[in-house]
Homo-oligomer: 351 residues x 2
């Protein structure tokens, strides 16, 4: 292994000078700098990450707590992981994956061992216990999703998140509300909302809970003009049968907002089985689909703003790390609630 010492002797300078050239924490003469840089290039020198970390107590690594693999896998999780990775590199951080299988002990291991400067938590649930652990460990962090139960909205339509842990998320309540009101506005008089899977609702995942809240708000707001059927959070095996019952009924809805995005193919299959054409006979409106996931045909939709979310959450942890380093409160870096956008809205048109 080639070390700083090798570079130093080759460049004819002191070892510390090489360090200063690399870190830039001291003014160095042009001449010396060039000599050092040349030696580095010639020897193919790379700084030892562990030595640097041991000395400086900074790892330039973020821990990413992923939902566990296996049955509960959602395609979105992997996409988030990859884009978090890109965003982190843009700030000079690498990303170490932590499977939820390891849970809280994994986070302790990471923080205690000093393997990461900060953490990002995915698939956050309301009152997520991991948040308390991270606070206790003193590890700066930010969430993809929020741990707060949905509260009321103020006059400006914004929820109060003061005191909440730093997070980035789509405004799921607003997204579902937008989907339903837009469908109503397009002339649909029979609306239905398919929430996230029963398991996600039971696990109190933020997106699932807030989506339901938004649907409730929309139903109330539209009451009188439009009936909104709020379906039960479906169990995986029962989904198809329930959809057949819903869509086979003559009083079926003409628009179906689907937050349960892995169920969209099932929705399309059930519609086909009932002899309904999409979009002519039934308007299917997915909420939270991955960009690029077309379900095979153009649909009006609200996409998951993956890049915005991962960019934002990364900025938040980085800010929290900086605050922590400066002796300030790493929890006070704020949050980012992303406004939903309805795409291909012209496809909403009621038959």
């Amino acid at each position: 292994m080639v070390t700083m010492k090798d570079v130093a002797s080759r460049a004819g300078v002191a070892q510390s000078t090489v360090s200063y050239v690399l870190t830039g924490s001291r003014r160095i003469s042009e001449r010396t700098r060039l000599a050092v840089e040349e030696a580095i290039a010639e020897l193919g020198y790379h700084p030892s990450v562990s030595a640097r970390t041991l000395r400086s107590a900074r790892t330039q690594v973020l821990a990413l707590a992923l939902p566990r693999g296996g049955d509960g896998y959602r395609p979105t999780d992997g996409r988030f992981a990859i884009e978090v990775c890109d965003a982190a590199r843009a700030h000079g951080y690498d990303v170490l994956m932590l499977t939820e299988r390891e849970g809280v002990p994994g986070l302790r291991r990471m923080a205690g061992g000093g393997q990461a400067d900060g953490a990002i938590l995915m698939a956050v649930a309301v009152d997520d216990p991991r948040v308390a652990v991270l606070r206790e460990l003193g590890l700066p962090f930010a969430l993809l999703g929020t741990e707060r139960a949905p509260g009321g909205r103020g006059a400006d339509g914004a929820e109060d998140f003061s005191g909440a842990a730093p997070f980035a998320d789509l405004d799921w309540a607003a997204a579902v509300e937008l989907a339903l009101t837009a469908a109503a506005g397009a002339g649909h008089t029979g609306l239905a909302y398919l929430p996230c899977a029963a398991e996600e609702v039971a696990g109190r995942k933020g997106y699932a809970v807030r989506g339901l809240a938004g649907a409730g708000a929309a139903a109330e707001r539209l009451a009188g003009s439009t009936r909104v059927r709020l379906l039960e959070p479906p169990a995986p095996d029962a989904l198809y049968e329930e959809l057949l019952a819903l869509l086979g009924d003559p009083r079926r809805p003409t628009a179906l907002a689907v937050q349960h995005v892995v169920g969209v193919p099932t929705v399309l299959a059930a519609a086909e089985a009932c002899g309904l054409r999409v979009p002519e006979d039934l308007c299917v409106l997915p909420i939270g689909m991955l960009p690029g996931d077309t379900a095979g045909r153009p649909l009006p939709r609200i996409e998951l703003p993956v890049t915005e979310m991962t960019t934002a959450v990364t900025e938040l942890v980085v800010a929290a790390i900086a605050a922590h380093g400066a002796g300030e409160d790493p929890g006070a870096v704020g949050h980012r609630l992303i406004r939903p956008a309805l795409l291909d809205a012209q496809l909403l048109h009621a038959g």
Copy 2:
């Protein structure tokens, strides 16, 4: 931060004794061991990963080179990442993600800085340039997919992979061959094969190239009894139109083997648009779908053996790291080519 020194003084032993208790590299009396363990628990001590790494030159980290995010994202990539992570933990390794956006420089950075003991490469292409780089860097590695162009098969039906870099992969050629011959065996007389996306074929991704090879072999083998149409690798925008042309024709195939799995929803949409029912009028047979990804209805299929692949590739890197440590050839740990399995074969039945 609580260090070994703190633990040692609390337990009334030498600092090295604490180290020996932790590493188990020396016999320790029961009495001493208990005292040390108690002190560790009381103080909440965690060993410093960077110090340990600096000293021992072992990181217990694997680098995972992911295909880059953005347009080319495939849902499979994220799933692999998560399951690799699980498999690695089972061997005591953490996983550091490397986006392909960084490419070869990323690998150099990782190897040079001593941030990982080994690497796993995803989405490997034939003659993948990263393989040469890894060999040059002396970093043990294993591939998900193989960098070899498909060769002929011996009498036992096995390809010769001697000299190939360590890899784990589904036997894609056998998978496509199995799909087509099984469909023919079920009575279909008009078969078609939809290969991977044009971009993947052009990028010479192993699965894409070997799938094509298998289709060619099957077509040859079935010639005389059954006609197999080998479709062109589709460009994303053209897929739907091409399928309409294929399925709208009265001489359309009755079974369609689809290796382009992200296109399955499009296939189903096109079939519906042509008034074809699946599976009654058209048998759709996906090859390489993620387990659990149902496309909304039961289909005969060959799934991607994600868990087998990730388990195997992890065992291979771990073996390569051990070989490297023992001064042996880390490239000589072999490979694992997984035999395809046809699921729900009864759904193949020709109308």
